[in-house]
Symmetry: C2
Subunit: 354 residues, 2 copies
């Protein structure tokens, strides 16, 4: 038996249930801006070793929630674990992630199989189990995966890209192979997230990092459709509670209405759309997560706090808002600014929930 | 006396007047995908020499309109000519443009002055005059400038950037200096575009390449407001005709309504929003330019043509559409695909104008 969850603000806000103050967590809250993270990363020897060693991944997951009164922990992992489990050979260098064996033929796509999470991704699930034990019911743990489109993009490009010519070329020239790739990935993501939920993740998030490179038609076909199939297959409750699902398409602020109709509990926003505009466009169909520009974390403190205040006012009264950034914390951020951000959100948001 | 304009489809469509078929031109239609461009670029010795030598800039402006039945020529130049004229020292290397003397202090911003276009930017105006003479009334010539925000971003960052930390930092920490910089640039852009119009540009376009990195609030303050002041100061007719103005914010598809209220005749769209959605959102307040994903130019020809057909259907009947890409032609494009694109747009669009 697991201990009861003492701070359930995040889960309640994601389901638009009343809260006493707006919950807050930050994308990449476990990261290089923390000296204790850099120490563990150094000890691990490589980023990949850090991700694949449950004790170390657990440790860095917990670091920010020890320092700051955050309302959630997020699993420390990489979005490219699934392609690695499929045999593409994930590596990291100064330019970021890349694959030793990117998908460069229709045959290589046809050969792909859905990995069994408890086999090839067991290190992730062990991390989830460890973190849950260590958190001991203090705050919930968020699991996550890259979206099928985002994984496909990395798998075909082999790394980050400037113009995404290879993945788009595949979609244009080999539409059946592209569809097969996205189907296999949708099944893999579903199994992976369900395994994280079974291991103890109390909410899950789909990172659609590259949805924003598509046309509107392409977004529906290649990004939204596979995500809809993932959502249809997800375990939506565990341990007697609902497991909320968050979807985040970076660069997708033109398509909020379509995202709100996807079947998730919440959508996460980058900073290009204000919470006021987003709420006006989609009403209260889903909860909203976001969306401070991470650049404000390096602004003068009073300027950051002015923006936080404006952002809370943008959302206005009622539950359904999870405070976050529009993208991850950058390495140059002073941890003291993060401490101030978390306190400011809690302090200034309480009146909106009376 | 200049010869009368024989093909005025572009000007008419930008003003939402009836046309026989949808006009088409392409961002970066004069560029590296053309072997004759690469030959002249080679002869010039450097990209900057090509821009600053009116005979050569005129030649490459005309190259695509000799090859293809495009409905407009666009001045061959760089968006960073104004900062160069202000003394920042524009240079180009493999990474793209950068400045020898980026703005790194409030003092350097305070020292900036509005350049006299007929002095420091005479080479651009001479190019405009040459091109007009050579075009001899066949099709109109479009002039252009970077937007104040885009110029400010490059001037402060010194080059392209990953997170735009320096320009955002200036806006956060030194709001008065940022405002001064944008004011000076708005005046400079206004004078520059008016000089291009006086020299013969028959339509002008503002490239707000970096508007999309801002928050919604920031976009209004730093990008839209200075563009509104440019628009208020522009000469809107010349040679007895209106001079239409096009505004293009790359990454700005969440903010179409605000762009449509700016006072321009047309807005240009990147490919993340369909023409159907854009028209539904803003009605017929302004003409729409765009918005094929340039990646389709490297797709199988029939796939490209399917997308062109869908895009024309997205816009539907009536004038007010200028066919273009959502961004520039890339160097890997086969010129034959461009020829097919132009013919396909003309051929398939005629029924929408009956």
């Amino acid at each position: 038996m697991r201990p009861p969850l003492r701070n359930d603000r995040l889960l309640r806000a994601l389901l638009r249930e009343p809260v006493d103050m707006t919950p807050v967590w930050l994308m990449r809250q476990a990261g290089r801006y923390l000296p204790e993270y850099r120490a563990v990363r150094e000890r691990a020897g490589s980023f990949l070793a850090l991700c694949t060693t449950p004790e170390l991944a657990c440790e860095v997951t917990l670091q920010p929630v020890r320092r700051f009164p955050l309302d959630a922990a997020i699993l420390f992992s990489d979005i490219l674990t699934i392609p690695d489990a499929m045999g593409l050979g994930l590596e990291f260098d100064d330019q970021g992630p890349h694959f030793r064996e990117p998908l460069r033929s229709v045959e290589s796509i046809r050969r792909l199989a859905v990995p069994d999470p408890e086999q090839a991704l067991r290190y992730v699930l062990d991390t989830v189990r460890l973190v849950r034990r260590e958190l001991d019911g203090r705050i919930p743990l968020i699991g996550f995966s890259g979206s099928p489109w985002t994984l496909a993009t990395y798998m075909v490009e082999g790394s980050g890209s400037r113009d995404y010519r290879l993945i788009k070329g595949l979609c244009f020239a080999e539409p059946l192979a592209a569809r097969h790739l996205l189907d296999i990935l949708a099944q893999s993501v579903t199994a992976y997230l369900n395994a994280q939920i079974a291991a103890g993740a109390q909410a899950v998030m789909l990172f659609d990092t590259w949805g924003g490179i598509l046309t509107e038609r392409g977004y529906h076909e290649y990004s939204l459709d596979p995500m809809r199939s993932v959502l249809a297959g997800l375990t939506r409750s565990a341990e007697g509670r609902k497991v909320p699902v968050i979807v985040f398409t970076k660069g997708g602020s033109a398509w909020l209405e379509a995202q709100a109709d996807l079947g998730s509990d919440a959508i996460s926003l980058d900073w290009t759309v204000s919470l006021a505009t987003a709420r006006a466009r989609i009403g209260d169909r889903v909860a909203l997560q976001g969306n401070l520009d991470p650049a404000f974390l390096t602004a003068p403190t009073d300027r950051m706090c002015t923006e936080i205040k404006a952002l809370l006012a943008d959302y206005g009264t009622g539950s359904g808002h999870v405070f976050n950034l529009g993208h991850g914390v950058t390495p140059d951020v002073d941890p003291e600014q993060v401490a101030i951000l978390v306190d400011t959100v809690h302090h200034l948001s309480a009146p909106y929930h009376r």
